[in-house]
Subunit: 356 residues, 2 copies
């Protein structure tokens, strides 16, 4: 399997909109940071040693594939991966931006549904990641753990009784676990309550970021909530805490939606139908406007103001309107102005064909 | 015939989009100011004398109707006309705002197509007006003159050899003639050349105003160009001068359209399709936004960027989205916020039904 074949499938399992609370929680993600005992950490690695890490992981993955309980996993070396391909994996949330920018001694393992991935030689030797649709942190953790266990049959992880799993960055030491959810909070944003709610989440020791990781603004009213502390906590406790905070965020968003529809129905309808009208007609659209208008019609579809638009279509649009994918799909490098035209065209086609 | 029956027909001949250059010139209007000899001017009239003016005109109109060469004319007294009805006549460009605000001793004569009207006891006893689609000033003048001649068989006009027709305002003395055209100049406005061009028109002794008369801004890129001087000029000279200036304005607008489509095609397409998307989806729309977006799709339809939208539909929308008509059609007084909803609904329906 080539990365290209993998990209041709634009909907991965986290995008399919079938999970619990998928009207508010786009996806749940769990990742485990692991390192191989006795091998220098990635930033200290020679190319030769880095390749040995890849080889070890390849053997472990082959072994997991033989057992067959994790579906079919494919290893892609980054040696020949283009910058565009790396960026698409980042936009699909299957790789981190750090892996995207990294050297030729990196790689990635993916299953065919895109629900499981292992980043190789990013900050740690392995970052095992599972992405699920909706609020499914426990399920994502379960899958990660199974893969982790499968790999451990071959790989000897760096682990100390006192600290737990050893990692490149001290914030990951311990369980090596990070969980996060992507939540779409249009009503909290429109009613001006998002800031207060997200502050509270921060005070609970969780981090809040935009859809595309650290530093990115919360474009399209999509926020990423993740746990920060990995040491001294039991994995299940951490997952439960994040799930429980997310449930409260869901409740607040639902209440804000009800209030908006009760008190400002006409202006909400106007905003949503205008967004649909613009998305289905515009010839030029930048990424930030697209994110905002897609948020509006997602809200409209979920509240019944618009005829139903498939959640999978909306999730897919978030990814396939990103600059890298636009260039991959047209097969050439695009100036920003051209990208805005292709983006507008893709959105019109998707909305027209899937929801006519 | 009641005014209500007359309003039920929303398209009058000036709106039908069939005249020459109707892609740029919405309508041509000629009006003649006349007063009855030996009767004080309207602002000096007692109610009794005002009614006598109406009676004289009624007799003259009956006489014209008997001869049958001007179609069927109807006289409506303003005695029982509501403020809403008066305003609708103004919005349809069949009466002036001054007549709309005026006393109960006014009236109006209309033919069924709405191409001819006579305002009674506005600033002058009679203001005979003809409105035609496109650039048809000579035809409009012809029709006005015929009606003028017809009325003169019964009415003795105030006329002096030296000054010509006597009128309430000295700017109308002489021929009593005013000609005007409504021109839609989106490309000149968008390319920033409208101001210079309209200044030049002003220097030629013509006046430039917005679509709804003096003081109104040029909403929707529609300008009214009219002659200012009525004394010391031959009627045909005046009509020819206005026609010739209008032809030059048409040429400049056409050149500006070509340049815009050549140099900024993508952004023009985007602007126009967005306008169409918003008009066909919005739930709330104020009058000024409607005028602007209707201008955009008119431009789009005329340049072939959009599928053809009937000019008569676009002209009709200019009038039926005005506050007075919205209230007449819903049969009740509407708050501005309600009007914006009804306006959006009417536009969606018209664009959907006439151009699906």
């Amino acid at each position: 399997m080539k990365l290209d074949d993998f990209f041709a499938n634009t909907i991965h399992s986290w995008m399919d909109g079938t999970g619990p609370h998928a009207d508010i929680v786009i996806s749940s993600r769990v990742r485990l940071a692991r390192n191989i005992a006795g091998v220098p950490l990635p930033h200290m690695l020679t190319n030769q040693s880095a390749n040995k890490v890849i080889e070890s992981i390849e053997r472990a993955v082959d072994d997991v594939n033989k057992r067959g309980n994790m579906g079919k996993l494919h290893l892609f070396s980054y040696e020949n991966a283009s910058g565009l391909e790396r960026q698409i994996l980042v936009d699909k949330h299957l790789a981190s931006p750090a892996l995207g920018q990294s050297c030729s001694t990196c790689g990635i393992v993916l299953n065919e549904e895109g629900s499981l991935s292992i980043m190789i030689n990013e900050e740690d030797h392995l970052r095992i990641q599972c992405l699920q649709s909706g609020l499914q942190l426990a399920e994502a953790f379960q899958l990660c753990s199974s893969l982790d266990d499968g790999l451990e049959a071959i790989i000897d992880y760096a682990f100390q009784e006192k600290y737990g799993y050893l990692t490149a960055c001290p914030t990951n030491v311990g369980t090596g676990l990070r969980g996060s959810v992507m939540v779409h909070l249009p009503a909290l944003v429109m009613s001006g309550h998002a800031g207060r709610m997200l502050n509270t989440v921060g005070q609970l020791g969780l981090a809040v970021r935009g859809f595309y990781g650290e530093g990115s603004e919360a474009a399209g009213n999509i926020f990423q909530i993740s746990n920060q502390i990995t040491l001294g906590h039991d994995e299940e406790q951490m997952i439960n805490k994040l799930s429980s905070v997310t449930s409260q965020v869901i409740e607040q968003e639902e209440a804000a939606r009800k209030a908006l529809l009760k008190n400002s129905r006409v202006s909400m309808e106007d905003k949503i139908f205008r967004a649909y009208g613009i998305l289905s007609h515009a010839r030029v659209m930048n990424a930030s406007e697209a994110m905002q208008l897609l948020s509006d019609i997602r809200f409209g579809s979920e509240t019944g103001i618009l005829p139903k638009i498939e959640t999978r279509t909306l999730n897919e649009l978030l990814v396939i309107t990103r600059p890298a994918y636009l260039q991959w799909t047209t097969g050439r490098s695009l100036e920003p102005a051209e990208r805005d035209c292709v983006r507008a065209e893709i959105i019109r086609e998707k909305l027209g064909s899937d929801n006519s």
